[in-house]
């Protein structure tokens, strides 16, 4: 039983920290200063064959963050279970140049062929080191076609599904005010919120006010929640989030307003309040990269894009909620969905 294991673990550590610490305790494990350089015991290095691509996922957050990091982690483990890749995960890797470089160097030494660095902040640090590893494929989440040598960029076209979710939101809002949260004002978030507003205006059939709440942290769920409640008090009755969805959803549930989930289908979190979710099928770009690496076509790098039309993102409508959306808005949603799919309509991208 997991819980019990946890309690025992914490208690054991605490008890030992209190009791055994100051005394010599060197019988159990000695710090291995005898560690030999060649004695690495990696699993990834063993892949001398040609089939699974050796991929590493670099996360700036824990892999269980319920959002950004977890979406990538789940996609990568899916590829791993399909036998497409062997996977190494480094979580909580700081995004400064030194930390990025040291993580990358270790990975390359291990024979990793593809480094999937999942944050826009890894871009510049990676540019400093990729020259040393011209045969390794690198990718980072820039999202604006920033391709350099063997460093690929992949997009995060959240604005497209956010626009569609916005149409639904327009069909739900009674006040004509919608809200959006983000940790900080970064381009991909700004574009997502603006697209949400644009969609809401179509669904609502009139101008819609957007309340933007930048919380100042990606991890302060309690303050995010209050930021949403503050906006609810000012009339916003449908919410979307960029990167701080958990606090946003909790707030929507408490304030009894609608909310759009972020990156994965989050309707299980609040079945009565999650209207739909902006879903990122990030495995799409990963698959493209893996295939290119296997085929020897990456490097050189290119821009990896999986738009809405290509299945890179989607909207997961909560079936329990669909009934609350006005029929007109649903119809508009279907119409725009088809137009985006066919390329007849392009969702405006407003990064700032």
């Amino acid at each position: 039983m997991k819980q019990q294991r946890w309690w025992m673990a914490v208690l054991a550590v605490l008890a030992l920290a209190g009791a055994a610490c100051g005394d010599t305790d060197d019988g159990t494990a000695t710090p291995a200063d005898s560690g030999d350089a060649s004695s690495t015991t990696t699993a990834g290095g063993a892949s001398g064959g040609d089939d699974p691509v050796s991929m590493a996922l670099l996360l700036n957050v824990p892999q269980n963050d319920l959002g950004w990091g977890q979406a990538a982690y789940e996609a990568a483990t899916e590829l791993e279970s399909e036998g497409e890749i062997t996977l190494q995960v480094l979580s909580d890797v700081p995004e400064d140049a030194t930390s990025t470089a040291r993580a990358v160097e270790g990975l390359v030494d291990d024979g990793v062929e593809l480094v999937f660095a999942h944050s826009f902040n890894y871009g510049e640090p990676l540019k400093e080191v990729i020259g040393d590893f011209p045969d390794t494929a690198f990718a980072y989440g820039g999202g604006f076609g920033d391709v350099v040598d063997n460093l690929a960029d992949y997009d995060q076209p959240f604005h497209e599904p956010a626009f569609l979710a916005g149409i639904l939101a327009g069909g739900v809002t009674e006040t004509g005010v919608v809200g959006g949260t983000a940790g900080f004002n970064i381009p991909v978030c700004h574009a997502q919120l603006e697209a949400f507003r644009a969609g809401a205006e179509i669904g609502y059939g009139a101008p819609v006010r957007l309340i933007e709440q930048y919380v100042g942290s990606w991890v302060d769920a309690a303050r995010t929640k209050e930021a949403v409640l503050a906006g609810v008090d000012q009339g916003a009755d449908v919410w979307i989030s960029c990167g701080v969805a958990d606090g946003t959803i909790e707030a929507a549930q408490e304030a009894d307003v609608a909310v759009v989930g972020y990156v994965m289908d989050q309707s299980p979190l609040a079945p009565e309040h999650v209207l739909a979710s902006v879903v990122w099928n990030i495995d799409e770009v990963m698959r493209q990269m893996v295939e290119d690496v296997r085929a020897g076509e990456f490097p050189p790098a290119r821009y990896y894009s999986a738009t809405y039309a290509e299945g890179g993102t989607s909207v997961a409508i909560n079936p329990d909620f669909a009934g609350e959306v006005s029929p007109e808005a649903l119809e508009l949603y279907e119409q725009y969905e088809a137009d985006i799919r066919s390329g007849d309509f392009e969702v405006p991208f407003v990064p700032e």
Partner: protein, 320 residues
Amino acid sequence: MSWEAVIGPAAILPLLAAGIRLAMPIVLAAVGECFCQRTGVINLGLEGIMLAGALSAFGAEYSTGSPLIGALAGVGAGLVFGAIVAALVVEARIDQIIVGISIVLLASGITSFAYLDVFGVTSSPPRVQGWPLWEVPVLSDLPGVGVVLFRQPPLVYAAVGMTLVVWWLLARTRLGLSARAVGERPDAAEAVGVSPRRVRWIGVLLSSGMTGFAGAVLISSLGLFQDGVTAGRGWVAVAIVVLARWNPLGAIAGGFAFGLVDAFQLRVQATSGGVDAAVPYELFQALPYIMTLAVVVLAAMRFRRDAQPAALGTPYVAQH
């Protein structure tokens, strides 16, 4: 920008309610810390202890479904960490500041590690329900304040009660007198039969337990745990103690003032037009901290150190 939407007649009560919600964990931790510091011990590790309390409460509430057990587990985790702190500062007489910083490092690492190890990566992330609001009969029907003050989850009433009890303990009881004496002149206190060691253990455990409870309150109202979920609230609580001049009632007031400013800035930001606003939103985010800094500085300038316990931060060696 509409001030009406922030402090207008219709907005003022929600503003107050939000202030209370944001303040509650800080107030709890700060009041406990007041008691602790009056015994002469700076328990600086509140941020870490609150995190431990939060995770412990979350785990317990998640596995049992009971917010009460969750709250108790939060207190329990606080006490465990409190015992470590007391062992290090009261028994081993290691510098209190250093111990505090170390405890924060330790707790933030352990909570992050344990959360991942226990709950793993799941597609249906763990949530707890928290306690439903409890309406105080009659009082909750009062117009205005009734909604703000008397429709809260039970933990909030418990928290308020706890802070008042601590104030009473410190101001009106023999234990409180002993605590204050030990914080001023431990040698003199010992001479009249008070054990500074015992009193300081009580102070550290009390503040740690309350801080663990604060973590439980935070989690219960939030419904989820994430790494670093306390987001600096423990540090703020220590700051509140200083600006409250070591007075629990002052800490209650100071904590609520902080929560109110935070609630205020979130509301101003909501109405100010986001990124295109003339005043950058980052300034709003910094506002609670600017205010705290200003008040700490003003209080220090105005009162010097007259309210600070004379033996604060100083280890004590029993004379016999």
